[in-house]
Amino acid sequence: MKRRNFVGLTGLAAGALFLPSFPSLGGALVDPARLLEPGADTAQKKRLADAGLNAAKAAGASYADVRIGRYLNQSVFTREKQVQGIASTESYGVGVRVIANGTWGFASTNTVTEAGIAKAAQLAVQIAKANSKVQKEKVQLAPQAGFGEVSWKAPIQQNAFEVPIKDKVDLLLGVNAKALDLGVSFVNSILSQVNEQKYFASTDGSYIDQDIHRIYPSFNVTAIDRASGKFRSRQALSSPVGMGYEYLTPKAADKVAGPTGSDVVGYKYSYDMLEDVAAAAKQVKQKLTAKSVVPGKYDLVLDPHHLGLTIHESVGHPLELDRVLGYEANYAGTSFATLEWKAKGLPYGSKVVNIVADKTQPGTLGAVGYDDEGVKTKRWDLIKEGRLVDYEKIRDQAHMVGQKESDGCCYSQSWQDVQFQRMPNVSLQPGKAKLSVDELVSKVDKGIYIAGNGSFSIDQQRFNFQFGGQVFYAIEKGKITEMLEDVAYQANTQEFWNSCAATCDESDFRFFGAFNDGKGQPSQSSAVSHGSATTRFNGVNVINTARKIG
């Protein structure tokens, strides 16, 4: 419990799921206009990168890559009628990673000159050589042909940094005003925007220039019953996305209604923040008097905004090959889905469970042209008809599972951190047969519909998890009957996915996003999306979370 953790933890305590502990990447606070200034051109960046690559080779590196990164962030925070903070940051520097004596070495610098980068490259080689003395396994890189000079840009329609801050403040204060008008006690809202301008060069002959954008609007409303002292909150059903400001222009085609009687609306590629806060204000007051759940076994109908986090924790993480192999044993943990477990061919899930990894889906948080070690991104199967078929891996891991290529999911949160294996977008494929949410619910005799993500916890090998949500509705004899409270479900990953009975069709499919997924020591953050359609799981254990503290 050190002071440097205080900000992040108070954020958690306030229920601010996935909101950034800002500024988290050590960037300098700058004038917003700075975020629109162009960075160095590609000719300059190539010259700088070559200085690093040449210095690394001269110092004895057998491989080197140079990442020149300009990371731009802006966040606007408000509560009720006031702006709490507006911060614009820029972080610019270079990370050099090398292999020398079969060992990784890494160094970074914010002296972005040929001499500064060459010095970092030499230091990286020095570190690699020093560590090679206590190294037991030599690094083996999967082959990767150079791409020459290429570029990739996220297909956004409007750079969020071009929108005046006043418009953003007006939007958030408008959201707050609506919530207060509708009788909530408190409301916080936030808009976070990110632009990663990344240049990657390697001794394989790649010079890759990329422009990546992310945006995340969110809010949290709280209602209080002063007489009883009871309080409840409801967070936004928005998702962070790999898009520009166009995400905040609502389109009717992107709205998906939850089951009849639930009063829930989900969002695809655009978000109606004012509509959602109005629904939240109504629901948060209902939560104060909703019936406390009777614990027991229920069939769960999970909306994509909720199920995305369950996919993240129970499929995305256990299939990270570094965890499987033991590299994260001291912190994030290992995985039940070991190579031996996979070889047994046991079912991960039921036949309707088809899960894919994909780093190419437009508008998602994981979408890039090339990863942070110069591998072109792709889509691949993780689970087919319930069977585990593959993991998430990068260049120095492929040989460990007898494969010859990386999956292109290497990432670093900044120029000053070393890149490592991170989760790609991991999504449950929608059902092939036509199936609406109402049709799905109509077959449930005793169940609970859960929308939005709440409290979440899973063990270090990804067996046992517990999830809450934002809103819960009882399903009886095929119909939504009333709102419930104090709901959390506990399950074992394999039992849960094997209880997957049906998933709605493509028309209900949408992405949930995790804006700040943590892994590694020192911990690094990454952003990732998870798509699914509303899905049914049979006979899941539901607990009642109400307690009395006197």
Binding site: M1, K2, D31, A87, I127, Y331, Q466, Q521
Partner: protein, 441 residues
């Protein structure tokens, strides 16, 4: 350049304030020289170092405030940084929570900086020692060692001057058996790195790993538990005691959205909420775990009783909330001390007829802020105790428990040890609630 002395830092800050044209201006410097090494599968995976100093300037015009930062210190850059803070301030909306900058303050001098720090070679040697312990026993180590020196200096246009240097080294190691059927953990943090014994800590984790093989399943339910300090506080994530201490916030309580909210309005400061043996205070001068002398605003820290004999004596008040409520502002401390007895964890085990020893808790998240209900799981060494001795390892379990309920169900309290910047005793708690089994090892 990364670690500036007090005179160097204050001279630089004085220069920065000299460029200000704002009504009020505050400047701060934060610097660090730290290094780390990470290993897994008995082999080094990554190593890094960080040398950095950054300057933050806050300029204020009336109730408008702007902040800019930079990490270069030539005159032109410093001037630009101040100008940028002023430009941002002029464009900012007025803050309804404005409080004027603090004037000169008097600070304590915590013994927070040791004269020595670990070199890269010493870090590599500690990692090698740790791995050697495991390799010799056919066990696998994954560990992380991170440490160095930091400093913070503040100065403002009202005459406030503050400076503190500190050293800290964190080490943690998870040891697993080669077949993955056993896992153990040890963690420590020290001000003086010469006091860190990575080998002994690894030995402890290795013993737990070896002893945790062939874990039996027991029925989830309410059990007497002995929570080791690593199961009570954590340096990197939410913890049972950390969550409780962070929750002692006056504003959220007064607003009606905290477990500290009083029915009908106001907060529960002054009420007895815990067993009378629970006393928690903060003390920046504690020799074993020295704390910060001031918070980010320059507010001086001092010894402060938060919970005394089970009664909540103090809540955290920001300067704004303190002024609004006409009370003294409380800086949030960098760590806390929980009073205890003289018994070791081994002594607590000896006095236990039936119970569970918990090494570490993991993935703790808040389930209900109204009751401070948390969920999470045991990890890396969970054992069944019978008739005063450890009988067998048990499978990990998920708990759903509130630290408020837990600290009312106190059976015994042990001798405090330093962990995560705090001094925390092992606790024996009755009726700790486990709700399901986990197969995780």
């Amino acid at each position: 350049m990364a670690i500036l002395s007090q005179p160097e830092a204050q001279a630089l800050l004085k220069k920065v304030l000299g460029y200000s044209t704002a009504d009020e201006c505050a400047a701060s410097l934060d610097g660090r020289t730290t290094g780390n090494i990470r290993y897994a599968r008995n082999s080094v995976s990554t190593a890094g170092s960080q040398n950095s100093v950054s300057l933050a300037v806050e300029s204020r015009f009336g109730k408008r405030s702007g902040v800019a930062t930079c990490n270069e210190f030539d005159e032109a850059t410093l001037r630009r940084c101040v100008q940028r803070a002023e430009e941002i301030a002029r464009l900012a909306p007025e803050s309804p929570e404005y409080v004027p900058l603090l004037g000169p303050q008097t600070y304590l001098s915590p013994p927070s900086a040791a004269p020595t720090v670990l070199t890269a070679a010493a870090r590599a040697q500690a990692a090698a020692d740790s791995m050697a312990v495991c390799a010799a026993r056919n066990l696998t180590a994954a560990g992380f060692l991170d440490g160095g020196t930091r400093f913070t200096a503040l100065r403002n246009s009202k005459g406030l001057e503050a400076y503190q240097q500190s050293t800290n080294t964190d080490f943690s190691v998870t040891v697993r058996t080669a077949d993955g059927r056993g896992s153990g953990y040890a963690i420590a943090d020290v001000t003086d790195p010469t006091k860190l014994n990575a080998k002994a800590l690894t030995q402890r984790a290795a013993d737990k790993a070896a002893a945790s093989v062939n874990a039996k399943a027991i029925e989830p339910g309410k059990y007497t538990v002995i929570l080791e300090p690593a199961a009570l506080v954590d340096s990197g994530d939410l913890s049972l005691l950390g969550g409780l201490m962070y929750g002692l916030d006056a504003r959220s309580a007064d607003e009606g959205r905290s477990f500290m909210t009083k029915k009908g309005g106001g907060n529960r400061k002054g009420e007895k909420l815990f067993d009378e043996r629970i006393t928690i205070y903060s003390d920046p001068l504690n020799a074993e775990v020295p704390g910060n002398a001031f918070d980010g605003n320059g507010l001086p820290t001092q010894r402060l009783g938060w919970i005394e004999k089970g009664v909540v004596k103090q809540l955290y008040y920001s300067r704004f909330w303190a002024e609004k409520n006409k009370v003294t502002a409380t800086p949030f401390p960098s760590g806390f001390v929980m009073s205890g007895g003289t018994q070791s964890t081994a002594d607590l085990i000896k006095s236990t007829a039936k119970g569970i020893l918990i090494t570490r808790l993991w993935y703790i998240r808040e389930v209900d802020p109204q009751t401070l209900l948390y969920t999470g799981l045991t990890r890396d060494g969970t054992f069944y105790i019978e008739n005063g001795a450890i009988k067998f390892p048990i499978k990990n379990m998920r708990f759903n428990e509130s630290p408020i309920i837990m600290l009312n169900n106190l059976e015994a309290i042990g001798r405090p040890v330093r962990l995560a910047g705090c001094l925390v005793p092992p606790l024996k708690i009755r009726d700790f609630t486990f709700t399901s089994l986990s197969d995780a090892i």
